[in-house]
Amino acid sequence: MTPASEREGAGGRGVRAGVRRLVRLPLRTPAGARADADEELDAFLDERVEHLVARGLTPDRARAEALRRLGAPLDEVRAAIRGSATRREGRKRLRDRADAVRADVRFAVRQFARARAVTAIALLTLALGVGANTAIFSVVHRLLLAPLPYPRGDRILMPVQEGGFPSVASVGGPLLDVWRARTRTVAAMAGASEDLFGMWPDGAVDTIPSATVTANLLPMLGVRPALGRNFAAADEQPEPEAARVAMISYGLWQRAYGERADAVGAAVRVEGRPLTIVGVGPSGFNIPLSRNPAPDVWVPARLERAVAGGSGDLIPGPGLFVTLRPGATVEAASRELRAAARALPAADASRPQFYPRSSWPRSRWHSCCSSPRGCSCARSPRSSACRSGSSRAGSCTPRCCWAAGATGTASRPSATPSCGASARCPG
């Protein structure tokens, strides 16, 4: 009886895990474990039978007695022992794997400790990578993926120009007409253009960011004035001049009026025109996706004017905002708007495509304008129509050139791109 010397080489289950790993001894497979269990049970029974026969029983009776001593039917016992054998081997395998992982981790930590500079660089690289990814994703998420931060912001879309030069260019009256007439998915359209106005309530002139918006823009965005009232549809009518109204930003209200309630009703002159302040916007409100500082003065205008761009084209990017009817999808609205736009004669408007709630064309716009190649926009059909003099209100706005002719008054960082193609600009 010398079990150690008779041990089978490869399968030695008594070997410690570390040693087994060192010499790469395999663990038993589940099938092997079952075979082991069977062999052990059979050997046990044979031994018992032999023992009983030695005591004088006949082989048959000895076998029966051995089975009785088993305490349960042979099949059941076999199944139970097989089960415990496979379970045991499974646990061992698991423990081995955990040991291996632990050893690997220990080894890695030792290596890291040895090469601190490399570790530091690796960690720094990882940290920068993760940080950059997070930053980029959060920007992409805000600009392209997330709904606009307004109530039902996911139902508000912003159509932009199609073609090699996507832009939030101005939209012409004919296009607005077909969109109004031929779309079923669009509930309402609102517009906003940003501009710089010269105004200051105390008579001195200052240049402040302003916006020409449709009366329905603020209600569409779910914005409620902090003081006074929102624009009403009647405010969009420019006549009579004396009845013109404006809203001011919360910031201007604080700076210029010291948060006094009598700011509402006060008369201001903006660009020389008298305006009556009817409301104060909520704190922090800006035009959706705008890259510019929040407007301090909002002036109401009809849609055609609001999306035609501000005076002098100082600031790019009038916005057209569209709300979907209940049940309409972004895709359906996009199809519809595109189809309606394509039905227009090419001279009336270029063919806008629909990018939902996207502001990237704005950023692209600037990169375009600051690069010589980008100025190729001046060659677009839209602009050539402008050059040929067939300009119709709002149907063309070669915004690429906005910075060229107006640098004198523009004081914003966003007005810095210089376009070498000013010669091509119409007007």
Binding site: G14, D36, E47, V77
Partner: protein, 109 residues
Amino acid sequence: MALLKGTLDVLVLKTLSWGPMHGFEITSWLEERSGGRLNVTDAALLQALHRMEERGLVAAEWGVTKNARRARYYRLTTSGRATLRAESAALADHVEALTAVLTARRAEP
């Protein structure tokens, strides 16, 4: 005599403390030592061995019996030895307490 619950393991460990044995040797040894009074079914013994192997109290390897038959030999591991010491002390304690209670006589007035 049926075995008290939980005592089989410690009995098997005690048996193995005499040296490596295979299953049938263990049960013969137990029968012999208890004068045939302990009634351990073979199935229970084999499962107890597997269970303790899983817990690392015993280790097993294949060997050859004196009858030239292959058999799985079990031996105590270090932790098995420690368990045997702890468990047998606890069991002896338990038995002593039981005996004290069961053999108590009415106190003399």
